[in-house]
C-alpha cells in the first residue's frame, strides 16, 4: 500500500466532506438572513385558526420574520400571535396592520404585514392592533347563505 496515495486519498476525502458541508450551508440552506438579531412584536387576532409557530411573517410578499408562538391573551380573550421580526426591518410604523393569509394550494397559513402611515415606529414588545383574522370556511359559507337568504 503506497503511503503517498493513502495519505492523499484520506486528505481528499476529508476535504470533500468538509466542502460538502460548506456547500450545504451556503447553496442548499437559507444561510445568512436568519440569525441577524431580531426583535419581538405581537398581534391580537379574533381568530388565528391554522397559524402555528415557524410560520412566515411577510410584507409585500417578502419574508421579514417568523411566528414564535400562538396563544390566548387572558385580558382580551383574543388570539395573541408572538413574532420575531428581523433586525434589519426596523421601519415598520406603529399603525401597521397584520392579516392571516393562506399560501398556495396546500393551505399553509402565514402573517402578512401592511405598512401604515404614522411616523412612530414599531419597537421590541409592541402590539399590532389593526388585524384581520384568518378566513374560516364555515363562516364564509354561513355569510354566503345569509346573503342568499336576503335576496
Amino acid at each position: 500500500m503506497n503511503k503517498r496515495w493513502l495519505e492523499l486519498s484520506v486528505g481528499a476525502m476529508m476535504v470533500a466532506g468538509i466542502a460538502a458541508l460548506v456547500a450545504l450551508a451556503l447553496q442548499v440552506s437559507g444561510g445568512s438572513m436568519r440569525n441577524v438579531g431580531h426583535y419581538p412584536v405581537s398581534a391580537l387576532f379574533e381568530n388565528a385558526a391554522g397559524l402555528g409557530p415557524k410560520a412566515k411573517v411577510t410584507m409585500a410578499g417578502v419574508t421579514i420574520g417568523e411566528v414564535v408562538a400562538v396563544g390566548i391573551d387572558p385580558d382580551t380573550l383574543m388570539a395573541e400571535v408572538r413574532m420575531q421580526i428581523y433586525g434589519q426591518i426596523n421601519y415598520l410604523s406603529i399603525d401597521s396592520s397584520a392579516s392571516i393569509l393562506t399560501a398556495g394550494l396546500l393551505g399553509e397559513k402565514y402573517v402578512g404585514i401592511t405598512a401604515g402611515a404614522e411616523d412612530d415606529l414599531l419597537g421590541a414588545g409592541d402590539v399590532i392592533e389593526d388585524t384581520q383574522s384568518a378566513l374560516i370556511l364555515e363562516e364564509l359559507i354561513g355569510q354566503f347563505l345569509i346573503n342568499l337568504g336576503d335576496k
Partner: protein
Amino acid sequence: MLRFVVDCIANLGAVLLHKLVQMGQALLMLLQATTVQPKASSLTRLIQQLYVVGVQSLIIILVSALFIGMVLGLQGFTLLSAYGSEQAVGQMVALTLVRELAPVVAALLFAGRAGSALTAEIGLMKATDQLASLEMVGIDPVHRIVAPRFWAGIISLPLLVAIFSLVGIYGGHLVAVEWLGVYSGSYWGNMQQAVDFNEDVLNGMLKALVFAFLISWIALYQGYSCLPTSQGISAATTRTVVYSSLAILGFDFILTALMFGGAV
C-alpha cells in the same frame, strides 16, 4: 407442564443475563478504546484506518447518492405535478435527503460495507492469534487495533453523509432541471427558503454522528468478542450488519421525534 414453563422462564433469564454481561463487556471495551493516550504513531494508524473505512466506502456512497437523488427528483416531480407544484421539487429533494435519507441510507451502506469488514478483520486477527501475539509483546490490542478503527468510523461517516446529501441533491437537479424542465432558479431558490442550516443540515449531521458511534461500536465489539473459528467470524459479521441496521432505524425514529417532532 409446570416444569416446562419454569424451564422456559429460567432459559429466558439465562439469555437476558448473558446479554447483560455482553453489553457490560462491550461498554468496557468502548471505555478502554476511547481512553487512550494518543501518540505520534496513533495518527499514522488513524490515517490508515480512515482510508480503509472511509475512502473505500466512497464509491458506494457516491453511486447510491446519485441514484437516490435522481429517483427522488423523478418521483417528486411526478407527485407534485398533480398539485401544480413542480417548482417545489428542489425543496422536497433537499429536505428528504438532508433530514432522513442521507444519514440513514449512508449509515446502512456503511454498516454493510465498512462495519462488516471491521468485524471480519478483527475476528480473523483473533482467530489467528494476532491479538494474543500483541498481548505477548506487551501491547494492549484494544488500544492498538480497536481504538484507531473506532475513531476512523466516527470521523468518516459524518463526512460521507454530507457528501451523500450534496451528491443526491445534485442528482435531483440533473433529473428535475436538466431533464424534466424545472426552472433552475426555482429548484435552488425554493430549496434555500425551505432548508434551514441549524434545523435541517446540522440535525442530519447529528444523526450521522450517532449512527457512526453505534456502527463502530457494534462492529468492533462483535469482532473482538467472536468465537475464533471461521463459523464464529461469519456469525459475528452477520450480527454486526443486523444489529447495526436495527440500531440505525430505531435511533432514527427516536432522533427524528426529538428533533422534528414538535415543528409544523
